[in-house]
Symmetry: C2
């Protein structure tokens, strides 16, 4: 059968189309849930079969949806073999998990391998995600899952013993500390090859904000070059295939908005491990409208991060921070970039909270260096920031990645004024994020919300 791309966007499910009148369909009995395997020269692709009765496939053609076609990576017209796929054995393990059993290292490796090779249908993938989300996973299972995710993807190797990284579990708009922390840490001399995600559900991810200042699409060679010169970079993680199982799992987690502790930790730590990190600072903001609403739960997460990372030969320091309101004033890529530059330049109207949180986090990272005594990190970070060395480093990183001209914020503005006098008691993170998204962020980099007043200020 000759392959052909069918331009249907199936969102990360390999769908393979065959004419109902094709020989393969006529000769076999199957349900439309049947999976088939295409093979060419040792290369295989597994997909869900959809039988069609439309003329858009010629006789002798097999259609691949866009996602499957790109995954297979063969030119249109390639003559492939087609056969029924053998049952995916690891689905038996998912069933065990559904029934409450604890799976071992080998089990998770098998499951994750099959997921990465696209052998799981969306139904099976969902079953796995939900089975793991229902009741906490044993912490040993989180280790197995994280290790399996690392093993089934690429791993970046560095010529240094200490590679530091930071990660915030998110939920706080404007929280762009990474873009201040990286130049401080890099200026100090630790290696911090930072890759970040684009916005998933928020008005801006670090990669979106950095994108307003420089090219974030770094390949491995370029990233290594920049890091060898500048000690740090600020790239987009999507350019690599680190822990690819995670991206596939997220595709079903997101529509369900499942917030599964074990999976989240496995997801974060596997990406870091694959990126070569040895020391990681994890920021967990706690607040009424943050992702984590109780200090108790934050502490639980902390313990689990510590346990799992140790088993993966990484060191994490978990810091629980104030998540009661947005950080900085700008929310949206350009507005956040402006905040970041003000902080790096130590300008008078730089958002104090962003300045403060950034040196706090950078200080904790500097303490990964055995030469820095506990408690001294913050002072060193402050000195670096105040001296202008961090700004200088950021300029060099931007130059190395490829400078972009920072856009002006969007021209349409509306100032929201209070209808009576008073003092701001509370800002809801989720609602402010929604406003910024409705304004057009992050697709429109100049869109967003600028907070003229913060908690405690008079209006």
């Amino acid at each position: 059968m000759k392959i052909r791309m069918v331009k249907i966007d199936t969102f990360r499910e390999n769908v393979i189309f065959l004419r109902k009148d094709s020989e393969f369909c006529r000769a076999q009995t199957f349900s439309p849930q049947t999976k088939v395997e295409l093979s060419w020269n040792g290369k295989t692709l597994v997909g869900l079969l959809n039988t069609i009765d439309e003329p858009f496939l010629a006789k002798g053609e097999v259609g691949l949806c866009e996602y499957a076609f790109e995954k297979f990576g063969l030119p249109a017209g390639t003559d492939v073999k087609i056969r029924h796929m053998d049952p995916v054995k690891s689905v038996d393990l998912v069933r065990k998990k559904i029934h409450g059993e604890i799976l071992d290292e080998e089990d998770y490796l098998q499951i994750v391998k099959d997921i990465v090779e696209n052998r799981y249908s969306k139904v099976e993938l969902t079953a796995f995600v939900v089975a793991c989300a229902h009741g906490p996973m044993e912490r040993e299972e989180v280790v197995h899952l994280a290790k399996a995710m690392v093993e089934t993807g690429d791993v970046i190797k560095w010529d240094s013993e200490m590679i530091v990284d930071k990660h915030c579990i998110g939920g706080i708009p404007g929280n762009r500390t990474t873009m201040v922390v990286v130049p401080i840490v890099a200026a100090y001399g630790l290696l911090i090859p930072k890759t970040s995600s684009r916005s998933i559900t928020s008005p801006a991810g670090t990669a979106d904000t950095m994108d307003a200042l420089a090219d974030v699409h770094l390949d491995l060679k370029k990233m290594k070059e920049i890091v060898s010169k500048e000690n740090g970079c600020l790239g987009w993680g999507g350019a690599f295939t680190l822990a690819p199982a995670d991206d596939i799992i997220i595709a079903v987690e997101r529509p369900l908005s499942i917030d599964a502790q074990g999976q989240m930790i496995a997801s974060i730590l596997s990406k870091k491990k694959a990126a070569g990190a040895t020391h990681i600072l994890i920021d967990i903001p706690v607040g009424k409208s943050a992702k984590v609403t109780s200090p108790l739960y934050a502490n639980q997460l902390k313990k689990l991060f510590e346990y799992v990372s140790a088993k993966m030969d990484m060191f994490v320091d978990v810091i629980i921070t104030d998540g009661s309101e947005p950080i900085g004033r700008g929310i949206g890529p350009v507005l956040e970039a402006i905040d970041v530059l003000k902080v790096l330049k130590n300008e008078k109207d730089a958002p104090k909270d962003l300045w403060d949180k950034s040196v706090e986090l950078a200080g904790r990272i500097l303490e990964f260096d055995p030469k820095v005594r506990g408690g001294e990190g913050r002072k060193i970070a402050e000195e670096i920031l105040l001296s202008g060395k961090a700004y200088e480093k950021m300029e060099r990183i931007i130059e190395a990645q490829g400078r972009r001209t920072l856009k002006e914020p969007g021209p349409l503005k509306r100032e929201i004024v209070a209808y009576k006098n008073g003092r701001i008691n509370e800002i809801n993170n989720q609602k402010i994020a929604k406003c910024a998204k409705l304004a057009g962020a992050p697709e429109d980099a100049g869109a967003g919300v600028y907070l003229l007043k913060r908690v405690g200020e008079k209006v």
Copy 2:
């Protein structure tokens, strides 16, 4: 937008296709997981959006997969409105269930309503199924689920106070007692309007076997006519929309082979309730290679059947039977029909176990009649079968439904002989079923396995 059917078989998922260059796609930002709602004159249809870049849709057309098109039931070219679907609120309840909470009656009704109206994507549906399968549902929850399934479908009403039914939870090849029980019970005078399923995973369902003798596709009017004359019938349940949520749920359960107690019981009892049954005999065969392998588990199921049916104003009698080997000798539609006819005609070589189990079950059903004392049912059933009245009744039912000429068993045969002398110790139900399926049953009605020897016999 004008609707058009796209002949793609998506297996019970409503998929709606829009051109990427359509105004709707250009004006909106959405992920391909987005659901859209089509509406026409108060009628609505919800489906998962797939964006396409293929010329098979003209501008201004919206494509519906076969399943969605039939569900919508409007002619091609109907001018419909299209809009983003509001988030499905009941998915929040599914999330609660995932996190281990217990849902109430109103929760289940909302979930099942949304499922029946196709508002759930396969991912959400799977999440619900797995969340319910993981750890037993509270028995009150099973009641809620079953009632919600009844409420969201059609219900058949009868002019009689007692409508009896029987159900076997399955797993034993050749177990065609229903086709003997129905004519016995109908000949006695109780109303037994039996609808059965076709084979799902087995070599033959009762509907497949009856299909070898008579037309099983009865509509409601015809079924009522036949039952008013003959007291019983043997139709195919798929002709009605009784508890339609169940069929949708099964579509994801089957590929996962999840065997969830609560869902199974809700599924069976909701179908029976919707069919108007008041008294049901449930047969649970227990055996090493049966669906239920331990008497302990069978007893648990029994209690749950009793509890749930009482809450649904039905009476069940649960009988735990021997499931150690197939029942009768034939496995496959025609071969099983031959066994059934031999039993009804009391022929000398009729399979004794099928004869015996059938009168036992029929006897228990007759005892639903307040006039029959406990323990007397079996004797009455035997008399009816031996007198030929059951056979006569079966002939009348076949005539009423539309007689078919029973096919000969398939012409290609292979006799399997033991390679040494001995006695049969064990027959594996699952392996025998697989052999019969590989031979072509049930698609090929004449295909199957005929057991020349049974457990305990010499070879």
